[in-house]
């Protein structure tokens, strides 16, 4: 269990055949045919506000392999959402480069939709459209891709079942609880078979039991689809449970403090949380967080 302490010396992938490289290494997970890797180099982000500049991210170098599962943890306000928005191509960095599948995100000031529109995004808020029913919200990515009405309804209904929303397909978002809305948002992100799944504290609004179930479900989705996942969370144990690597951010400005590989065997079950190895990883990460004060 090695922990790299220098922010810039993040884990280096094999130099050859980058597009085929599988970060999970020795594990037997399939890499999704659609999955792509992500790379950010020298990324800096400064927000300009009325009350001066906010330096949100500083000198971020991070590589996420095809099919890899990376968790981002850190204090509130340390820049996790900002980094995720940069990775998604929704937010242009002030400096540095962002690439997906070896294609730059920004060409002449415009996002390359050919690659980045294939991502599945789950935001910190559910961001469902109140004018669509649950099933129509989930089917939105399919609608935008020109999938026929009957087909997208069938697919969206399946996805609702995956996230445990059966029976609520025809409800409006306002009729759902916060956790149910978030699950609908996850289903929407999965609808177009994403090449990369970027999730910003998706389970924050869920109770512990539902959260455990959703974690197992997400692990399953990752294992089956082989998609690349970047997962932001406040919970260190959740991060360790799910990830191939845990990236720890420190605040003001947001920097990568450490990258911790998680070599726990997969598939992981809730029992893994009782193992000494798991405990050590969690304690180690928690100690790093506490050292900040």
């Amino acid at each position: 269990m090695t922990t790299q302490q220098t922010p810039t010396a993040t884990w280096t992938p094999p130099p050859v055949r980058r597009d085929e490289f599988d970060a999970s290494g020795d594990t037997a997970e399939p890499v999704g045919s659609r999955a792509v890797g992500l790379r950010v180099a020298g990324v800096d982000k400064t927000y300009t506000t009325r009350r001066g500049d906010v330096h949100a991210l500083s000198d971020i170098d991070l590589e996420v392999g095809r099919g890899e599962f990376v968790s981002l943890v850190g204090r509130s306000g340390c820049g996790k959402t900002t980094l995720l928005r940069v990775l998604s191509g929704l937010l242009a960095p002030t400096a540095g480069t962002v690439e997906a599948g070896d294609r730059p995100a920004w060409v002449a000031g415009r996002r390359d939709d050919a690659v980045f529109a294939e991502f599945g995004l789950v935001f910190q808020e559910a961001n469902l459209f109140p004018w669509f029913t649950v099933v129509d919200n989930v089917a939105l990515p399919l609608k935008l891709r020109g999938v026929g009405k009957a087909e997208r309804r069938a697919r969206a209904t399946e996805l609702c079942a995956t996230v445990g929303l059966t029976g609520f397909e025809d409800s409006y978002p306002r009729e759902l609880s916060g956790g149910m809305r978030q699950r609908a948002a996850i289903a929407r992100a999965l609808a177009c078979d994403p090449s990369v799944l970027l999730m910003d504290e998706p389970f924050g609004a869920l109770d512990a039991m539902t959260r455990d179930r959703m974690n197992l479900e997400l692990q399953q989705i990752h294992a089956v689809s082989g998609t690349t996942v970047v997962f932001v969370t406040h919970s260190i144990s959740e991060a360790v449970f799910l990830a191939d690597r845990v990236v720890l951010l420190t605040p003001r400005p947001g920097r990568i403090r450490s990258v911790t590989p998680i070599d726990l065997p997969r598939p992981r079950t809730v029992e893994v949380e009782a193992t000494a190895e798991f405990g050590e990883l969690v304690v180690g990460l928690r100690r790093q967080l506490d050292e900040e004060d």
Binding site: A92, L128, P130
Partner: protein
């Protein structure tokens, strides 16, 4: 580049858009059946009370027939009005003026509001003119419209349209600016085309604002048309009011006013009904029966 992609305030909210201006504050959820039925009970009760006080004033206090005719006399006058073959054309003329004015205001108001809402510099440029027009008592223009457009329906239609235009335009302007940042992220993340973004996000966001404006505007259109008819012409319910006044026929005067009230209410109900059909998802539309 960055600023155009991401605004710098982080005050996102989730779910339904904030209620548009001027929308009736109608609590949608957690309403007991008793609360829902209350207006249906209190409405008739208030009507009965009003009629009681009215009858009391006439028969006990003895208010003069010319000032306040008895309810029965007004009902009688209403009967006479409907017996008159002319009445249909009077109602038709007023209805036509109201609907034409409202229609023009709707089309122009949505177009202008959407344009100003999207083009910030243009909005700022025309701001002084808008404020000036808004604070001016517009009904004062009626005589001018009569000079310009004659005593026919045109001057009334223009008056109705002018009054109805502002609530629609202002609401739509606000509406097109009210697109939720989180919703925008969703559409941009999916690489949605301009057309899809309009169809699935901007239009549904703005529609509640259009209806909030329309609910006010339909009432204003009726006012515009009536005031126009008061001042000139020989047709319409407004004209009937004035001619009853000139004939000192108080029961008939009251009867026409009752007719106008009913007409206004029906038009308002029509607009809210359309709203319930078009945006059933919105908070201002009550769930349940």
């Amino acid at each position: 580049m960055t600023t155009s992609l991401d605004r710098d305030t982080d005050t996102r909210t989730d779910g339904a858009p904030p209620p548009p201006v001027d929308a009736d504050a109608t609590p949608a959820e957690g309403e007991s059946p008793w609360m829902r039925r209350l207006p249906w009970v209190s409405g008739p009760l208030m009507l009965v009370a009003l009629l009681g006080i009215w009858q009391f004033a006439v028969s006990v206090v003895g208010v003069s027939e010319f000032i306040l005719p008895a309810p029965a006399a007004v009902v009688g006058a209403l009967g006479d009005l409907f017996a008159d073959p002319e009445i249909g054309s009077h109602i038709g003329v007023t209805l036509f003026e109201v609907l034409a004015g409202f229609g023009i205001a709707l089309v122009v108001g949505v177009a202008v509001g959407a344009t100003l809402g999207r083009i910030a510099w243009l909005q700022r440029a025309v701001q002084p003119a808008l404020v000036a027009l808004q604070v001016v008592p517009k009904v004062a223009f009626v005589p001018i419209f009569v000079i310009w457009f004659g005593f026919g329906p045109t001057s009334k239609i223009i008056m109705a349209a002018l009054l109805a235009f502002f609530p629609i335009m202002l609401n739509v302007m606000l509406g097109v600016r009210s697109v939720d940042r989180g919703h925008r992220d969703v559409m941009r993340g999916l690489g949605a085309s301009k057309w899809a973004t309009f169809r699935d996000m901007e239009l549904p966001t703005t529609l509640p604002y259009v209806f909030a404006g329309a609910e006010v505007a339909i009432v204003f259109s009726v006012i515009g048309a009536i005031v126009g008819e008061y001042l000139g012409g020989s047709q319409g319910l407004g004209y009937l009011v004035v001619s009853s006044l000139n004939a000192l026929d108080a029961p008939r005067l009251f009867a026409v006013i009752v007719l106008l009230a009913v007409l206004g209410s029906l038009l308002y109900v029509a607009v809210t009904t359309v709203k319930k059909v078009v945006i059933p998802w919105h908070d201002s539309v009550r769930t349940g029966v």
